[in-house]
């Protein structure tokens, strides 16, 4: 399946232009209020502007204060820009999705007559008709008919898919196009509440509710801001006391712009400015992988997952069992077994049947023979007999025979009922195959047992490595299968899953999820059928397949448009990356403050307690470890660094920090080195460089 990469570059013209405009629109205090750190910064900018204004009225003109003021405003604008960039990218996605639905007309059924209405007028439970060429007007369930549907508008997958009433492929999505046949659809989501609508709202940020971790982090940021407001605004009192104690007039600079500069540098503007951009781009990353989430909360929960419940078929194995070997009964030639098995499977259109034909051809060059009625009567598989095969009419070369392949138990009954014997060796083979996780199919001709076909589940390539990665990250995988425990255990061992649930029923799935949750674990699962719905709803992260039923899609909190169950692993990675990005930038932001103190504190108290014979500077200049040029250049450099670092980190916020599947301890160590230690060191270098630039440009 192709995962379409929709405009992977994060910079493009229109988005950039719109983001620039939005940066100013977002100066609206009501918009800023939602982000307390930036709100405080904006107040700082306003107050500082006031100082400039008052100065101007009195005919003063301080380039220093004007520059500080400008950079305070830039800090706010840069943060707005980051958010606008993230939203812009989301909106671009939403626009392409929305284009699919613009002005769709629906053919609504009223009794026996049809009427033409615009899609938004459709109500829950309305029945609509769609024929080849029609756009499906809304999310719904096929109640009648079968059709092939082009879902490329939302999935990017060009091959049409089959949608039919009943069964697990009954759900259709608004905005997709019917390309053959006729179906009647029952509308299951009102206009504005469809999956697409919810997702568009989510990426546009309109319906974006803060996730639990975002709220908690927000509280921490507010608290840190409060600490710094206290530290900064108690400082003038200590400074004035010191001034008096030193007997020096004007030895300290605690003017309002300088205090505001210090405050804005200290409060966590970096993470405060990028927080919403991180959240939006997390959802955006999910959409790029063709997964729709109903809430940001679900994305975040994906990072916390402890247990993955994975369906064996389609996720762990290729989906079908394949014939891998013929094991003849004692005294029977291999060719005879292969030939009979092929003959019995000629009309068997199941993948297993086809794989038997192919294996016989590959191994012994036995070609598929053209046989048809009245020569042969094919007996299809039935759940009662658990056998299938062929009855051959008597011909010149051989008498009438009947070949059967099927479950060993049933073949045994069949043979013994005809007075034949079921060889012990065959029984042993059957058991051995089962133990290896294969499925044995016994083959009998008349009352003679010919041997056994070994059907094997083929585990997907590379899946074992992915499970190993998950294990390293502390996530357990549980394979869900309808197979018997013996088979399940063998496949589980081959695929490298941690646990399995054999002969699973929907109830057992649900019970297993509850059990894991009761032990404090968070569970994710994928599902498609209606009977998966309760389990999907119970799971902390439930990913429904787009090909699944509407019930399943409603029950889960994500829909995978590609219907690729393996995607769950990627979803977990995206959730983790989202949380890691937040944590890394918070740590970085806080660690930055140390350098800013070393820039600003000596600058504020440069002349305090200056000794008569030691020049104009006081002892606190010892803290000027960066050797910044002058008090003004020092303060300005810190403010400029603080503003520019937001811009510099926008790409990181949008892309997310680098993510590797490693144990938590190692991830922590790496991120601490990069963002903790880096956060301590980088500003020392950055502020020094900016100071050099300021001096070179004669700005201070």
């Amino acid at each position: 399946m192709t995962t379409t990469a929709k405009s992977s570059s994060w910079i493009n013209g229109p988005i950039l232009r719109q983001a620039l405009i939005d940066s100013f629109v977002k100066l609206d205090p009501r918009a800023l209020w939602g982000n307390p750190v930036m709100f405080v910064t904006a107040i700082g900018a306003v107050l500082s502007s006031g100082v400039v204004l008052v100065d101007a009225i009195h005919g003063h003109f301080s380039p220093f204060v004007i520059q500080i003021t400008l950079w305070l405003w830039f800090t706010v604008l840069f943060a707005n820009f980051a958010e606008a960039m993230a939203e812009g990218r989301g909106k671009a996605q939403a626009a392409s999705l929305r284009a699919a639905r613009s002005q769709t007309y629906a053919r609504r059924l009223r009794g026996n007559s049809e009427e033409r209405v615009v899609a938004p007028e459709l109500k829950l439970g309305d029945l609509v008709v769609c024929e080849a060429g029609d756009l499906i007007p809304g999310d719904g369930e096929v109640t009648e008919g079968i059709a092939s549907v082009d879902e490329s508008a939302i999935t990017g997958e060009s091959a049409p898919v089959v949608r039919e009433s009943g069964g697990d492929r009954s759900a259709v999505t608004g905005g997709t196009r019917v390309i053959s046949d006729r179906i009647i659809i029952k509308i299951t989501a009102e206009s504005g509440h469809s999956f697409l609508d919810r997702m568009i709202a989510l990426v546009e940020g309109a319906a974006r509710q803060k996730t639990p971790n975002e709220i908690a982090l927000g509280i921490l940021l507010v608290a840190l801001t409060a600490v710094f407001i206290l530290a900064v605004f108690s400082l003038p009192f200590f400074a004035w006391y010191s001034e008096a104690a030193a007997g020096q007039k004007n030895a300290v600079n605690v003017s309002l712009p300088v205090l505001l500069a210090l405050l804005v540098c200290l409060i966590p503007t970096t993470i405060g400015g990028l927080l919403s951009a991180i959240g939006i781009s997390g959802i955006d990353r999910l959409i790029r992988r063709n997964v729709l989430a109903t809430s940001g909360r679900a994305v975040e929960a994906a990072g916390d997952i402890d247990v993955l419940l994975l369906d064996k078929t389609g996720t762990i194995t290729l989906g079908n069992r394949m014939a891998s070997d013929f094991i003849p009964a004692p005294g029977i030639k291999m060719e005879r077994l292969a030939s009979a098995a092929q003959l019995a499977s000629l009309a068997d259109e199941t993948p297993e049947g086809r794989s038997i034909v192919v294996l016989a051809k590959e191994k012994f060059g036995i070609r598929g023979r053209e046989i048809a009625a009245p020569q042969a009567t094919f007996v299809p598989f039935s759940a009662q007999t658990r056998m299938s095969g062929v009855d051959m009419a008597p011909m010149d070369t051989h008498p009438a025979t009947s070949i059967r392949k099927g479950a060993a138990e049933n073949i045994r009954n069949l043979v013994e009922s005809q007075g034949g014997t079921y060889p012990l060796a065959v029984a042993a083979t059957v058991e051995e195959i089962s133990r290896q996780g294969g499925t044995p199919l016994a083959v009998a001709e008349g009352r003679e047992v010919l041997g056994v076909i070994h059907l094997k589940d083929v585990v997907k390539g590379g899946i074992k490595e992915r499970f190993a990665q998950l294990r390293a990250m502390g996530i357990r995988t549980v394979m869900i299968t309808g197979d018997n425990p013996l088979t399940a255990a063998a496949i589980a061992a081959e695929a490298g899953v941690d646990d399995f649930l054999a002969q699973a029923t929907p109830e057992m799935k649900l019970a297993r999820i509850r059990e894991e949750q009761a032990e404090g674990r968070l569970v994710a699962m994928t599902g498609d059928g209606t009977n998966d719905a309760p389990a999907l709803a119970q799971a902390d992260v439930g990913v429904a397949m787009n090909t699944g039923t509407q019930a399943a899609r409603e029950a889960g909190n994500m829909v995978d448009l590609d219907s690729n169950p393996t995607k769950l692993i990627e979803i977990v990675a995206i959730g983790k990356q989202l949380l890691m990005t937040r944590g890394a930038l918070t740590t970085f932001s806080v660690a930055n403050d140390v350098a800013k103190y070393f820039a600003i504190i000596p600058a504020m108290f440069a002349g305090l307690y200056a000794l008569p014979d030691h020049g104009p500077f006081g002892p606190l200049m010892a803290l000027n470890v960066m050797g910044l040029h002058s008090p003004e250049s020092a303060i300005l450099s810190a403010v400029i660094f603080n503003a520019l670092i937001i811009v510099a980190l926008i790409p990181l916020a949008l892309k997310g920090v680098q993510y590797r599947a490693l144990p938590a301890a190692q991830v922590l160590q790496q991120n601490l080195l990069i963002y903790g230690l880096g956060g301590l060191i980088v500003p020392f270098i950055g502020i020094k460089l900016i100071d050099l630039a300021i001096v070179a440009l004669h700005l201070a």
Binding site: P212, A216, I219, L220, A223, A226, V227, L230, A231, S234, L235, F237, F238, S242, A246, L266, G303, D304, D306, G474, I475, R476, A518, E519, G520, R521, G575, K576, Q577, L579, M580, G583, A584, T586, T587, V590, D593, V594, Y597, I601, P602, F605, L608, Y609, H614, F617, P619, L620, M621, A622, N624, H629, S630, P663, A664, A665, V667, L668, N671, L672
Partner: protein, 582 residues
């Protein structure tokens, strides 16, 4: 911009040599070694007491525990929700406050007052009552000429026990919050209080008091005798039931002295042995309880990890203090700073005592911290500003450190890509909010109240030192009260109304704005599930976490107080280096 030279490596080596050759380093090493050795011994036994298990003292004192339950009609197995538990803590402390207030303001009419002390003024009485109820033991008075024996014993002495036990009790609530799963309740306040007092505080105090009496600490109800000095002058010698009170003052990390000069008084701290034992007593329970914590949460490594973080900060502070005290001192012509040191015990024991008492929320003094070198005084001040989380008060130190653990786990925990967890409990908005309130409240008190003192004439009038040292005195006073330490820098007239009332406020906020959030966190955590540990779990034991925790504790304190400290001890240090004094 000009720069002064900072720390010089070769210079530091020479200081170390001087320190080693003086032999004092061995005292320090022996002392710390003994503390570490006793930790698991006492800690393991305390864990049994906290869980209500049968232990060594059950046969001896079990009757007393049962008697208290019967008299107070308490059912020790009755569980409380966090609101009930917090309510019980507040009610119990309010009662203690009122009783202590009554004893002071009416002591002239009450018995056991041989020295004829008059009733205590209301502002001082309120300040003192708050001080002893909150385990601060800030003293704006001298015991020997203010308090009657009855007030000392029934009021201050009793609160020494109860305020210490309150600290333990709050910690136990938090531990239950961490260990219970999906629970509504966090234990029984009264049972915790009785067990901590009967089995831990009382017996330890009994033993220590006897040893102290042997060493020469007074314990008597007789009146102050008069003596004629060699010069023929009359001298009144204050006495009293001191030994019993000093035992709990040290063991309960209270620190309020029986006499005005506290542990520098020969009747409180007569010999080098008493000095050593009292220092040991101060650290005994705060260190052991960290081990108990490891036992109670079912993972000793968790306890030792926190212990390691505390010990590292503790050692760092001691090292910096000794560096400051032993380095070349231009203002004193290169001599050690001997002024204000307790010469009976020497420089090392004075400085060690200063660090031990400011790290733990003990606050007793055997030398005058005002006279420490700027940097050593700064370390003492910074110890207070850390929020008393480095061993700290008994119970209080560990629960404060656990608040920092919560913040650390939250800050760094996100970096491993999971909702932060501690011991399997998810740390979410409520816990972060409460932890931040508890961490900020005392800091806010220090900064705001110090600013008020700096801005008012009344605030500045109380100072005896000019220059940056005056600012240090103000900061120290409010840091001590807001963090419920009680240590006095000296040099500040604490009895002025401004400091009495602002101080009362600081002690109130510093105690209960921490306790209530801690119990609330306990309640919230108890209700949560415990996520089993996996490779994806943020590790909260081991060296990486220890370093991280130290980093967060230091960085939060440094970021909050660096501007203020730069104008106090930091600038003073550079000035003294340049030979300038005020």
């Amino acid at each position: 911009m000009g720069r002064c030279s900072g720390l010089d490596f070769a210079h530091a080596i020479s200081i170390l040599e001087a320190f080693v050759s003086s032999g004092e380093i061995f005292q320090v090493v022996f002392f710390l070694g003994l503390v570490i050795t006793l930790t698991p011994l006492l800690g393991g036994w305390m864990a049994k007491v906290f869980q209500g298990e049968r232990q060594l003292l059950t046969p001896v004192l079990g009757w007393l525990e049962k008697l208290v339950y019967r008299l107070s009609r308490t059912n020790p197995t009755e569980e409380m929700t966090w609101r009930q538990y917090a309510g019980a803590v507040l009610a119990f402390n309010l009662l203690g406050f009122l009783a202590l207030l009554g004893l002071q303001t009416g002591q002239a009419w009450l018995p056991l007052n041989p020295a004829g002390q008059s009733n205590v003024d209301l502002s001082l009485a309120v300040n003192t009552a708050m001080s002893f109820v909150t385990n601060t033991n800030w003293q704006a008075y001298s015991g020997e000429n203010t308090m009657s024996y009855l007030t000392q014993m029934l009021g201050l002495g009793v609160q020494n026990f109860f305020s210490a036990a309150t600290g333990i009790v709050v910690l136990l609530a938090l531990i239950r919050g961490l260990t219970r799963r999906s629970a509504e309740t966090i234990g029984n306040f009264w049972a915790d209080l009785v067990r901590s007092t009967v089995y831990i505080l009382l017996p330890l105090c009994f033993v220590l008091a006897l040893v102290l009496v042997w060493q020469g600490v007074v314990q008597t109800f007789s009146a102050y005798p008069s003596a004629t000095t060699l010069e023929g002058a009359q001298q009144v010698i204050p006495l009293g039931p001191a030994a019993s009170q000093i035992a709990i003052k040290q063991l309960g990390t209270n620190g309020g002295g029986f006499f005005g000069v506290n542990s520098a008084h020969p009747f409180e701290n007569p010999t080098p042995l008493s000095n050593f034992l009292e220092m040991l007593a101060i650290l005994l329970i705060p260190t052991a309880i960290v081990y108990s914590y490891g036992v109670l949460v079912g993972n000793r490594r968790q306890g030792w990890s926190i212990y390691a973080a505390m010990f590292a900060i503790f050692l760092g502070g001691i090292a910096l203090s000794f560096y400051a005290e032993y380095q070349f001192n231009p203002a004193q012509g290169g001599q050690n700073l001997l002024e204000g040191k307790e010469m009976r015990f020497g420089v090392a024991n004075s400085v060690l005592w200063a660090d031990v008492t400011t790290m733990t929320s003990n606050g007793s003094v055997n030398s005058m911290h005002d006279s420490l070198s700027p940097l050593a005084g700064g370390v003492a001040l910074f110890n207070l500003l850390l929020g008393e989380c480095v061993f700290g008060g008994i119970g209080t130190g560990l629960y404060t450190m656990l608040l920092f653990v919560i913040i650390t786990v939250f800050l760094a925990g996100l970096m491993v890509g999971r909702t932060p967890e501690y011991l399997g409990k998810k740390i979410e908005a409520f816990e972060v909010k409460m932890a931040m309130i508890a961490v900020i409240a005392p800091s806010a008190c220090v900064l705001i109240l110090s600013a008020i003192a700096c801005a008012t004439d009344a605030g500045k009038a109380a100072l005896t030192n000019a220059g940056p040292h005056g600012l240090s005195e103000i900061l120290y006073a409010f840091a001590s009260m807001s963090n419920n330490n009680g240590s006095a820098f000296g040099g500040l007239n604490a009895a002025s109304p401004l400091y009495l009332w602002l101080g009362t406020l600081a002690m109130l906020v510093g105690r209960f704005a921490v306790i209530i959030p801690v119990i609330a966190i306990a309640g919230s955590l108890a209700a949560k599930k415990i996520t089993p540990k996996s490779a994806g779990t943020f590790p909260t034991d081991g060296p990486l976490f220890v370093i991280l925790l130290i980093g967060v504790v230091l960085i939060i304190s440094v970021l909050t107080f660096f501007p203020a400290l730069s104008l106090g001890p930091i600038v003073e240090h550079y000035l003294v280096q340049a030979g300038r004094t005020f």
